[in-house]
Amino acid sequence: MNRRCFLSGLAGLAAAPAFAGDDEHGRFVREAKYWNPIEQQRVACTLCPRGCEVADRERGYCGVRENVGGRYVTLVYGRAVAANVDPIEKKPLFHFLPGTTAFSIATAGCNMECKFCQNWDISQFRPEQIRSTDLFPTDVAAAARGRSCASIAYTYSEPVIFYEYMLDSAIEGHRLGVRSVMISNGYILKEPLLELLPRLDAVKVDLKAFTDTFYQKLCAGKLQPVLDSLRWIKEQGTWLEIVDLILPTQNDGEGEILALSEWIVDELGPDVPVHFSQFHPTYRIRNLPRTPVSTLERCYRIAKNAGLNFVYLGNVPGLGYENTLCPGCGTTLIRRVGFTVLSNTLKEGACPSCGRAIPGVWS
């Protein structure tokens, strides 16, 4: 199944009626897990920090949850708009089963609106506006196993908004020995996150900046809930990596990178891998250039100096910043170019030279 194929109908086709009760698309409808009824047939969503209060026949901010007569439902259970086999390095997860593949799925919708979103053509649409295919949790697990994928990745758009679909797919995947990873903005409330984490084997969170101003102006979100999620994930012991997409002039200040790095070291520990990634103009931010490599290299130095042991640069393949080095002796442990693992010399998760254990999920 090809993502490009799914997306080819984007914007030109909107094949489904709008309402959840429509027979043709009713198979994708499930009662949502986290919501409360309020007066006048209105509901309060308790899945993410937005806390949408939604009137009858209206949808939440994500565009994929609808109030149907006072009952809150998801419209995207089993409604995949993308399904691909990707290298796990593409997520990016560098300390999680390197060299394996992830069966990667997404639905329409997102609970933020990042003006630099690289997948806006699915994340910023409603489910009925994009071609989709039926891919229910048992299908997802079977497809992943059938393609010899080590994991299922919930990715591309924002998995939090297809929570029920992700949760059940992760359960089905585990039944077949396939693990699950969530590639997320971390914008989720504690209770649903704590229910989900035992079903996940790794989480990558986009920490998009370290200022609330950036989150509010460019993402229609807030910083603090993301920081809270990062703490909860770490506390639960689920493998965690962080990506910070660097936008020139917006979140690339030395002070901000230092503050972000120090916060991670202090709150999450120095062994959480951090990826600084290159921005390219897209969606609603087309007036900024690509992030200069020199800026990314500066981020790298600041983060290393702050005490982070595993810092990577993304979207700039071939410069050596994708390699995993032993923080003890400096030996190159995993050599990568782009999403390709060229060599992996780890011995049972440890450096073959000095024997230092390297944190991650290696088998």
Binding site: A11, G12, L13, A14, A15, A16, P17, A18, F19, D22, Q40, Q41, R42, E53, A55, D56, R57, E58, R59, G60, Y61, C62, G63, E113, K115, Q124, F125, R126, E128, Q129, A220, Y283, R284
Partner: protein
Amino acid sequence: MNRRSFVHSLSSAALVGAFHVPCDGGTGGRPSGALSPDTDSTVVIVRRVGLSQLKGDGRTGAYRTLLEEAFSTLGKTSLAQRVSGRNTIGLKANCLAGRPLSPSPELAQALSGMLRDVGVREVTVWERTMRELTRAGFTARGSFTIIGTDAVGYGRTIYESGDVGSLLSNALLNSDGLVSVGMLKDHDLAGISCVLKNLYGTIHNPNKYHDYNCNPYVAHVASLPPIRERLVLSVLDCATAQCHGGPSYKPAWAWPFDGILVSFDPVAADRIAADLIEDQRAIRELPTLEADRRPPRWIETAGLMGLGEHRRDAITVREVIV
């Protein structure tokens, strides 16, 4: 409208009547949208006892009478001037609430006929989906076709204004004129959903723009260039109105207003619509929209952005009962 508000409207109209500036239609070679500085901010309310009870041809005829009265009040040739140079006009109907609280197909029929009478070649009635249109009772009729954006899709250009960035329905982009045909109704977040809020149905991502009681987003959507250039007329079907519990239909809060509201100024139309809803809420001892934490402040924002007149004392209201 109760007697108190009716009298209030009339005295207000009398007060500002001297400053009424007749609409002069297009400017130069390019048709002006309703959202241009020369727009007349008169709002006409025409009512007919029992309108909401009429069916079929009788209802179409009644709407035609109400519309003729409205345009006559706005200026005899006003409609022709307003749509001059526009061949294809789309009526954006707000059909979210299903048949009981959606614009009447008979109103669309009457309006379509009048538009054709003044030279418009093609009239469409459109909404987000065909299903919404059919649920509201719309079928293709002699004088108009119906289009769901689900059938024609969205354009590929992201249009931006202020905080809003959206793709626009091809139903809008393929026409050269737009009439917002809404309802007189309450909205749980925006305060009201009448003329301008109806325009959320033109964009692909309306769910992104409901925070902060839709302020400033309603104004920003209305100022997206393809909308601003095309919007020539605002019509509210007020046969049945609703003062609380919107945007879906809640019979307990609905009442027969038995009329229509027409204006070339969408902001003025919403200002008056908000007043009518507030009046009804007062009658029912409901809190004001402000007290209910959902004041439609986007009306003022729209006015300050030059999309129309938001100041009540600068709006002329004419009420006619036929």
